[in-house]
Every structure is written in structure tokens, then in C-alpha cells.
Subunit: 518 residues, 2 copies
């Protein structure tokens, strides 16, 4: 563990990563910390907060860049270790290194651009009648220390220095990470890289800590610590809802940003199916099985109207999946849950195809099911997420039925439409419905692969996330850790730079509601 | 009641407004509705949502202006009725009419300016390696039908067509108002004005409904109706926390914006006390007793270092308050709570002065107490809000003690500093502490009187509100009812105007993160 710049070894139970490819535990063992470590990390974060939040945007941008540099310097070791700990192929981890450093550098850009300050000035109107208007200004301040729960499925991009950590640090919040048990070695490497960056940039040591603690029990201790002011979480629905409940039960409730579950419906419209049903089937199989299907945005549901196009789609998908090798899953627990989920689908829907068999204790054997719309709507089991390369095709009798299936869906991270020009009228009918159900709508692609940029939304209505007003990927993620403060008639010499006269930081600000860089 | 354009009379128990000045109930009686009315209003709101949210910014701006016009046309009737129902003096209600119409017109401006769309475009990069970047765009969509709980203390500005309703309607959300029992006649007048505006602008009838329902029971029915997607509430801490709990326990939890309680600390720094202690005492007494102290931002706590300046402050405040007449409170319940709250202070702190006596069943007799810092910190009772013209002066032995009292405070709507030039160093030490505790910091003024503008924050950390990331007053209030949606590779012809090529609505948008009106 790393607590406020110091490397600390707990004396709790040992945890070990498991290499699902080799089917063996990995050295070394790591030990859980206890409540005293949670206490120490929270105390250090609270102590660091005042100094850390007062740092300039430039200094925090530099900090994030040094973290990115440090991670890049570890690339080879990280790729080897993360790949061993997760069973994910090395090229995928290579990509994830780039994604992680890219996220850190994106937030450095966001900091330098400066709009994150939310600066607004309503100048005084001393001559207004019947009463003069005071000088009123607004800027954003960070919430305070943030607890981040690392995800199992992105050992880098949603883990120790992943999107939640990067956006919280950018906002000026110290971070206490609960590292995921499944990749302690990767976590150690990254935790060391962040700790070194804190020291290199001369920030207060408590700006960052990383703990190995059991999620049940001490995870709640972390969330309910009064010094923690927000939580970022990526994981299961049950885990996320437990964190939400713990945070809501605090004397001072705090925001929780839990990205939990989704089945990411894919709508295949008639024109697209008619012209390229088989191509879509093959591309779908590739998206479904990538990374053993262990993505929040995995296409777990396909909705289409019956006909020759859908038949061609199913035949091509069947053909591709039949030969798909069983691939390693992140952990034996996840493999067991997957097998159980597929079993429950097997008893509720028609099996289209299973992939090539493998060791069910460690690998994912792809699965595709189909059913009719009525069966789907009546079955809670078929609407649940199976984390892994399992998907369900819902065969609708007509467009109206497809729309009514869409209308009944729970909140989702994404919805995908495959649509040709001839489908645009139908797509236009679906769009207003989907806008209220999902965080991202995409056409003629696959939901896996979440671009990190300024406009991305990786979020969506409950139960996809616990707060639909936000995103956990992309530039807007920083807003999760900020809140506005208003300054009325504050003496000029005491105003923060962001809302000072003369605009010393050259920010875009709203003056009487109008954007200006003056 | 008004349900989707129709005037509806319930057949539940009768409610009647009470004129605290005359000490008599007012005609006519109004009747509570039942669960069928909640159902009808929610169903109509859900049915209206699709069409209402698709209206242009210009059309919604026009709608808000017509509401404002209709309210202005009722000015005389409103002032007479609201004054009778609340006991608030007519000039105060006159001001509140202007404030209410000003809020509606502010949101019309916000709509026309257009930044509420949160438009972002990350253009495609087809040649990017290793993988092309898709076209990614983002805009905000409204959450859905919103339930608004009218406040007792602002029969217009935080009631049927108050800030919550105006900002929700601006965002594109239909509104179901639970009118406050204490001013049913005022609510009827305003509800009729809004209903007429819906019809005049040709909006779907379900865009607005207003119910008379008991808060306990049917209030929860409203909050837990699955078609309601957010709640605006202004009222007591217990009432607000009940709404928060009900919303959190829904299968699909929803955001609640509850503005609850605050004691709004006022710091009197040494220089200011030395040069104008007596003036401050008189001004404080005026702020405290205005509107019988029935403001969320009433100065319920004064913190200062002992000395001749504080003595002068206390003497002047005592002198002013001693002669302050007992003034009517909004309802007999509120008067009873006030009397009880003052009693509890009486047994825990030193009485400085009471105002002139009146009828304790209907009026507010001002009260000022004082105590030392240790007693204050050890007493939960002395840190609670007494709604009305009661305040407590905490006498500190030195600056360090004042800072430690500040550090222990709960979340607040406001903090006020009275500071001369010579106090700026001390103020600079307090500011970072207060930024984390409150929504608004003001100098050399009084927290009562919340300016409605672009930069205002009327909010603050728990327990002042249930969501510190927002404000219930001012332009930013619209953000409470919006969430971002991302559009990836969506065909140009299907993109909403806000993020269409060529910027047809001439909005400020972020293109690759950079603000632009192109």
C-alpha cells in the first residue's frame, strides 16, 4: 500500500493475483490493511486538501503529466504484469497504457484551458433602484478527498490512476484508492508512479494513497469516513448499490459516481439488415468476444424485426462464434458468475450457439441466445447483465414491437443503431426514446471502445450509473468533483484569480451571463 | 387544483389559509386531492414530456414570459391575497412579485443564450492511427417530469411558479407542483396564470399541474411515482430529508434538490467592530427581524471576539430589538415551533434581549442570545436552526477560537464577514475554511436578500441542501434538470440543432474542447 508517500505493508490476509492463462497464482503475495490504514489515508488526504486545492491549474496539470510520464516509463513492466494478472492480451494492455496516459493528459489540457473554474461575474450596479445590486461572482471549488474503487476489467484505465483518479486530482481533490484485489501487482506499479509524481512536483504527501482492503467492511469504512466527500466506483450493480447506500446513510450524505451495469442494446434496422446482415453478424461476434466480453459497453442485447436479414445476421454470428476460442476471464469468480449467467439464459431463451469449449473455471465460452419480444419483456432474468461474451437477440414481429421493447428498457450506458439511409425515418422515431434511456447513442459501429475526449459521455440513467447527470470518461468527468461557491462584495484583494478583476488567468468567464475572455 | 389544463376540486379534507394579522381563517376553503389526482397529474406530465422537451428554446422562453405577464396582470389580487395568507407586509409581497417574474424572464434569457444545451463536438478523425476517431457530439437533455414542493415562506418566488418551477420548465421538464397548504389562494391564482400560459402558447396540457395534497403520504406518492424524474423542495430539514429518503428508496433513485436549513454565520472581525460596532448591531437587528426572520438566509449565528466593539454591537442590537414589535408569522405551526425553539435556547444560552411581546400563537417576538464558544460547540441545540427572528452571539476569546468555531460548523447557505481593510489578513485566513462550508460568502452586508442573477449560488453543503453541487436561485439552477447525452457517428440529418453542422442556432459550443460560435 501507499499511504501519503510511504510504502506500507498490512498484516491482514494475503491476496494474490491469479494468472488465468497459466491457471496459477502469481508472486508476490500482498496483504490487506486494516482500519488503521483507512484512517491514516483519510487523515492524510484531509490534511493535504487545503494545500492541494490551492495549487494552480498549471501545477496540477504538470502533476498529471508527470504521472503519465512515470506510467509510460513503466510500460514494459506494466504490460507484462497487467496481462498476467488479467489474462487480457498484451496488445490490449498496450492500448490501455495509452488510454490511461491520454486521460491524464486530457485533464492537464482541461486544467490549462480553465473553464473548469466555472467563473461568473455579475458586476455591481450601485445605481439600481429600488436597491443597488451587489458585486456577485461565482467559481467552482473541489469537494474534498475522494475515494476511488478500482475496476477489475480495466487494470489501468479505470484503476489506480484511471479516469476517476485523474478527474478527481484535476479538480483539486486528494484521492484514496481502494486497489482491486485482482491486479495488486499492476496497482503497486501504478501506485508507485503516482506517489513518485506527488513527491517530484512537491505536493503534500496525502494527495494520494492506495490501499489493499477488503471491499466488504473496510470499503464501507472508507466510504463512510467523514473526511471523504465523494466516491468514484466502477463495478457490479450490487457492489455499486452497496456503496450508494453506505454514502446515503452517512450523517452528511455524499455524491457517489458508480458506473455499474448495462446490456447496451443494439438495434438492427431493416435496411441495414437487408444490405449487410451477414457482415453485421460477423462484426457483432467480434465486438462481443473482444476481451472476453468484459466491457461495461459489451453488446448484450440485439433487437431486430424478423426476416431474411436477421436470419443472415444470426447465421453469420453463429458461424463466427462457433469457432470462437474460449478466452481467459479476469478472475475465477468472474468466470463462475459468467457460467451461472449463461445457465440462467439457457433455461429462459433459445440457444443460438456456444463458442468452442474451454475450462469453465477460468475462461469465457461465448454464448448467443435468441427469444421473442414477449418472452423478453416478461423475464427479469433475460434483462439482466451477464458480464462476459454472452448476448441475446430479441426477434420482434414488426417495428411497433421493436419500439415497445425499447420503451421498456432500463437505463443503459449505450444504444447502438445499425441503419442505412432508408432506415432514417425509423431511426428518427427511436432516437427520442433512446435519448431518455442511455448516455451514448451510436450509429453503425459497436459500443465497445469508448473514445476519451471532450464530448464523450460514459454514463446513463439508473441502473447503468448512480448519477445520470455525469460521465466517468472524458473531459466532463472533472465536474463530478466540483461545486459552485458565490462571492458577494468580497474585497478585490481577497478574490481568487479565477474571478479577479482584470482576468489574470485569461479564462473564459460569464460576465452578466455573457461569455467573455476580457 | 389544476391538472393538465383542467380545474379540479378534490373531495378530501378542507384546508383554509389563516390570516395571522387578523387571526382568522380565510375564505374560500380548498380541498385536498387524493392518489387519483397524483396519478392523473403524473400521467399527464409523462404524456406531455415528449412534445414539451422537443419545443425550441425560443418557444419555452416565450412560455416563461407569458407566465410572467400573466402574474403581473394579477399583481393587485396577488399582493392582497398573499399578504393576507402569510402576514407578510404588502411591500414585501410587491417585491416578491417582481422577483418571481424576474426569475421567469431570467430563464427566458438563459434559454435564448443557449449555452444550457452544453453543446460539444469532437469531429471525426478518419485518418487517426491506430484507429480512426468517430464523430462524437454531446448535448443536454431534460430529465423528465419534475415534482416541486412549494415553500411556506416565499408564497410566490419559491412556490407555484417560483425558481424550481421556472428552471424545470426552462430545462424542458413538465412540472407537478405540490402547493403549500398555507397559501392556497395565492397558489390558485398563480396556478391559473401558468395554466393559461400553457394554453396560450399551445403547449401540451400536461406540461403543468398543481395539486393540493397532504405532504405526508401523498407527497411521498408523488416523489415515488416512477414518471417523476427529479424533485425540487424548499422547507424544513425533516421534510427535506424525508423526500430525500423516499427518492433514494425508489427502484430508480432520482435527484432531489432540497434546500433545507441553515443558521448563516456572521463573523464580526475586530477592525469592523472597533470602527462601527454599534452600526453593525442596528443593521443586524434590522436583518434579523425583517419578515419575522422567516428567511433561509436569516443570520441565526454571530461569531466575534470579545471586546468593546462586540459590547457596542450587543448594546445597539439589544436596544433595537427591545423595541422591535412582535410581527406575524406565516402559520400558527411556525409560530409554535419558533416559541419552542426560543425556549430551548433560553435554557442553553444567556438571554440578551427579547423584542416587545405579542401573541405567541401567531407572532414572532424577536430573541437574541449569547454564549461562549465552548458552550456553543458542546450544544447540539444551540447549533440548530430556529426559523424566525432568533439569533445567537458566540463570544470567542481570541481569533484562534473564532476559527475553530468556524471549522466545526455544519454546511450552510451563507457566511458573512464584516471586515475593514485592517481585517483582511484575518478574513483571508477564514475564507478557505468558509469556501468548504457554504454556498455564498458575503462581505459587509447581510445574507437576507438573495440576488437573482447569473452568478448567484443559493445552496451549500449538507445539511443546508441535499446536493451541494447546485443552486436553487439564479441561472445555474437550470442545470439541475438536465443530463448529457452523447451522439457518436449519428447521421447529419438526424442530429439535433444544438449539435448540427453549421451551428444553425448560433450557440457557443466546444469544438475539440475549444469554445466557438462558428
Amino acid at each position: 500500500m501507499f499511504i501519503a508517500g510511504k510504502s506500507v505493508v498490512g498484516d491482514g490476509p494475503e491476496i494474490r493475483a491469479f494468472d488465468p492463462v497459466e491457471g496459477a497464482e502469481l508472486e508476490p503475495g500482498y496483504r490487506y490493511g486494516d482500519a488503521s490504514h483507512v484512517e491514516a489515508a483519510c487523515a492524510a488526504a484531509a490534511a493535504a486538501f487545503g494545500e492541494y486545492r490551492a495549487t494552480s491549474s498549471e501545477r496540477r496539470a504538470r502533476f498529471l503529466e508527470v504521472i503519465a510520464d512515470n506510467i509510460e516509463a513503466l510500460r514494459e513492466a506494466l504490460v507484462a504484469r497487467a496481462s498476467a494478472e488479467t489474462g487480457l492480451p498484451q496488445p490490449r494492455i498496450e492500448g490501455e497504457v495509452g488510454r490511461t496516459t491520454g486521460q491524464l493528459r486530457l485533464f492537464a489540457e482541461v486544467l490549462r484551458e480553465g473553464s473548469w473554474n466555472g467563473a461568473r461575474i455579475d458586476p455591481a450596479q450601485p445605481d439600481r433602484v429600488p436597491v443597488p445590486r451587489p458585486d456577485i461572482r461565482q467559481r467552482a471549488v473541489p469537494l474534498g478527498p475522494v475515494a476511488v474503487f478500482g475496476a477489475s476489467n480495466f487494470p489501468l484505465a479505470f484503476s489506480v490512476a484511471g479516469g476517476d483518479t485523474a478527474s478527481a486530482l484535476a479538480a483539486g481533490c486528494p484521492v484514496v484508492v481502494k486497489a482491486h484485489d485482482a491486479h495488486p501487482g499492476t496497482s503497486e506499479l501504478v501506485g508507485r508512479a503516482v506517489t513518485a509524481a506527488v513527491a517530484a512536483v512537491g505536493l503534500p504527501a496525502g494527495t494520494f494513497s492506495m490501499l489493499f482492503i477488503p471491499g466488504v467492511g473496510l470499503g464501507t469504512t472508507l466510504v463512510t469516513d467523514p473526511r471523504i466527500k465523494a466516491v468514484g466506483f466502477t463495478g457490479s450493480r450490487s457492489g455499486g448499490m452497496a456503496v450508494v447506500a453506505a454514502a446515503a446513510a452517512r450523517p452528511e450524505p455524499i455524491p457517489v459516481y458508480a458506473e455499474m451495469s448495462a446490456i447496451n442494446p443494439v438495434f438492427l434496422l431493416d435496411g441495414a439488415l437487408a444490405t449487410r446482415g451477414a457482415d453485421l453478424g460477423r462484426a457483432f461476434a467480434a465486438s462481443l468476444t473482444m476481451g472476453s466480453g468484459q466491457f461495461c459497453t459489451n453488446p448484450g442485447l440485439v433487437i431486430a424485426v424478423e426476416g431474411p436479414g436477421l436470419d443472415a445476421f444470426l447465421a453469420a454470428a453463429e458461424d463466427a462464434l462457433e469457432h470462437a476460442e474460449a478466452t481467459p476471464m479476469l478472475t475465477p469468480n468472474i468466470a463462475a458468475s459468467y457460467a451461472k449467467g449463461v445457465d440462467s439464459f439457457d433455461s429462459a431463451a433459445d440457444l443460438v450457439v456456444r463458442g468452442a469449449p474451454g475450462d469453465d473455471r477460468t475462461t469465457c465460452r461465448a454464448a448467443l441466445f435468441s427469444t421473442d419480444a414477449t418472452t423478453f419483456r416478461d423475464s427479469e432474468a433475460l434483462q439482466a447483465e451477464v458480464f462476459g461474451a454472452s448476448s441475446l437477440v430479441v426477434r420482434c414481429v414488426d417495428e411497433a414491437e421493436m419500439i415497445s421493447v425499447a420503451a421498456d428498457l432500463e437505463g443503459q450506458l449505450t444504444a447502438t443503431l445499425h441503419a442505412d439511409e432508408s432506415d432514417h425515418a425509423q431511426a428518427a422515431g427511436l432516437l427520442p426514446l433512446l435519448e431518455l434511456k442511455v448516455g451514448r447513442i451510436l450509429f453503425n459501429g459497436w459500443p465497445t471502445g469508448v473514445e476519451v475526449g471532450y464530448a464523450m459521455v460514459h454514463g446513463g440513467p439508473s441502473p447503468a450509473t448512480s448519477d445520470s447527470r455525469t460521465t466517468s470518461v472524458g473531459a466532463c468527468a472533472i465536474e463530478r468533483f466540483l461545486r459552485p461557491v458565490c462571492y458577494q462584495n468580497v474585497p478585490k484583494s481577497l478574490l481568487p484569480n479565477a474571478i479577479a478583476d482584470g482576468n489574470p488567468d485569461a479564462l473564459w468567464r460569464r460576465i452578466d451571463g455573457k461569455l467573455s475572455q476580457d
